[in-house]
């Protein structure tokens, strides 16, 4: 397999209400940032994969509404396709296109503005309309059900969850792109009001407005044109059974996705062989659960960007993790670790992490 490289990355600033920009404008902002980072122009991009969710955008075929903003140049025969799911899943689509040999460069772009809809109703619509939706659940109350099972079965305390929040918020405070940039003490985390027991307000990630873009390229192009290629060495994507049919104290899908990625990258001791990890934790307990399934034990090397607890735009967050991992490998992250040679990025989508992607990246 010819290696594929990440040659350009771009993110908007994440915020609670980016009223200054439409979602297409955010896409434009991330796309131009990624092109500038790659030292390329839009003419170098021969195809595009977008990630979006029509419910979040409040219209159908929302990807077409961002085509102009990401250089699709409708009418000139450039290929543009859409993934309904996390941006890291769109990255797999882009990765496959490069591997097909038909494309040299792929732009992967993800966006969402949850400030513009009603998140409770939008995430209530994740549930089956016949057997579940009318009960009134949403992403937070469903996660609370998972949290209670996981915390009990693995004997995890409030303090352990609080420590995740404190750690990620401290890192997020250093990240100029983050949405929440205020550090938190463990006392503040533990005193935070219950949102949906056992989840407290501070256990839940923000829902941000924002966009992120990634430019992928085949090896020959990357070696010729890129000042800082980051190589994809391993990848796995796996979907789990529905909520009521899986053990919520574990994530088999993540475990299997990680196994595939580790096998491709030749990793058998993840904690020793991976220098930094960027995880998609929508809730504090999820960082602990995802780490367990990744078989990664060094929490001080996890989510140096601040993670989703500091900035989380739906659809965008997995792609943002790939970007933050790439920046660590380039030595350009806001909270840079020393001697980063290999990084892991993780994306997830669906209720309580039904589907997961795992990426192993190297410089």
């Amino acid at each position: 397999m010819e290696p594929v490289a990440i040659i350009g990355v771009g993110q908007t600033v994440f915020g609670s209400n980016r009223k200054d920009q439409t979602y297409a404008d955010l896409v434009y902002e991330a796309t131009t940032a990624a092109l500038a980072d790659a030292e390329l122009t839009i003419d170098h991009i021969d195809n595009i994969v977008t990630a979006s969710n029509d419910f979040f955008d409040g219209r159908t075929i929302s990807s077409m509404a961002v085509g102009d903003a990401c250089g699709a140049a409708f009418g000139n025969g450039k290929s543009i396709s859409t993934v309904e799911g996390d941006g890291s899943f769109a990255a797999l689509y882009g990765f496959s296109r490069i591997l097909s040999g038909s494309y040299e460069t792929t732009l992967v772009i993800a966006h969402s503005k949850s400030s513009e809809g009603d998140l409770r109703l939008l995430t209530n619509a994740f549930f089956d309309p016949l057997t579940e939706r009318s009960l009134g659940l949403d992403w937070v109350s469903a996660a609370a059900l998972q949290a209670r099972v996981f915390l009990k079965e693995k004997n995890i305390s409030n303090i352990q969850c609080g420590n995740v929040v404190v750690k990620n918020r401290a890192s997020g405070a250093k990240n100029p792109k983050a949405h929440v940039r205020k550090p938190l003490t463990i006392d503040e985390a533990l005193r935070s009001p219950l949102l949906s027991a056992p989840l407290k307000e501070t256990d839940v990630c923000p829902s941000s407005d924002g966009a992120a873009a990634l430019i992928l390229a085949k090896e020959s192009f990357a070696r010729k044109k890129s000042p800082h290629p980051i190589w994809i060495r391993g990848m796995g994507l796996c979907a789990d059974a529905p909520f009521g049919e899986r053990n919520l104290a574990e994530s088999k899908a993540l475990r299997l996705a990680a196994q595939k990625a580790y096998q491709m990258a030749g990793i058998d001791q993840p904690t020793k062989q991976i220098d930094v990890v960027e995880l998609s934790e929508q809730f504090s307990y999820q960082e602990l659960l995802w780490m367990e399934e990744l078989n990664y034990q060094n929490s001080s090397r996890v989510n140096l960007s601040g993670g989703c607890l500091s900035a989380h735009a739906w659809i965008v967050s997995g792609l943002a993790r790939m970007i933050e991992a790439s920046l660590q490998l380039r030595g350009q992250a806001s909270n840079q670790a020393a001697n980063v040679k290999r990084a892991l990025a993780h994306g997830q989508y669906g209720l309580c992490g039904q589907s997961h992607s795992v990426w192993v990246l190297e410089n």
Binding site: L130, L135, L137, V140, R148, S196, L248
Partner: protein, 147 residues
């Protein structure tokens, strides 16, 4: 000069009439007419799905053997949503994840006549049926601690 940013409030209102299909129709009819909860068994892995599904997600074969499950079950998890949501049917609702007796899968429902202190993982719960039933999941009003 700063541009004044205008917004456009609107809403999407599209009526849907989802067919329950043959499998869930039989389940909903049993709720409505007999106050019974039906499950279905996969002929290959023997897993009992409640609510029933036409196909087993693990084996990719059609489920065919119907059986009555519950109506009591075991509470696998629970929460109380303390926030306000337009999707909630009442203020600060309790949600449970319940495995009915005889079933292998769990499903969501509301919990009633309860508080956070008295709920525990593993307690037995049983359904309270609505007096007026229409053939929907809300024909069960909620589950409450058994006895």
């Amino acid at each position: 000069m700063t541009t004044e940013i205008l917004t456009h409030p609107s809403r999407i209102k599209v009526p849907y009439t989802w067919s329950a299909g043959e499998t869930l129709s039989r389940f909903f009819k049993a709720l409505r007419d007999e106050q019974k909860i039906l499950g279905i068994r996969c002929p290959r892995c023997q897993k009992v799905y409640a609510p029933p599904k036409k196909t087993c997600g693990t084996c990719f074969v059609e489920c065919s053997e119907w059986l009555e499950v519950g109506p009591s079950g075991t509470l696998l998890s629970f929460t109380q949503a303390s926030y306000v949501s337009p999707a909630h049917r009442s203020s600060k609702p309790f949600f449970g994840l319940i495995r009915l007796d005889g079933a292998d899968t769990a499903f969501f429902h509301l919990l009633g006549e309860t508080n956070l202190q008295s709920l525990k993982i593993g307690i037995k719960v049983s359904p309270v049926f609505a007096e007026k039933r229409t053939g929907s999941i809300l024909d069960i009003l909620y589950f409450r601690a058994a006895n």
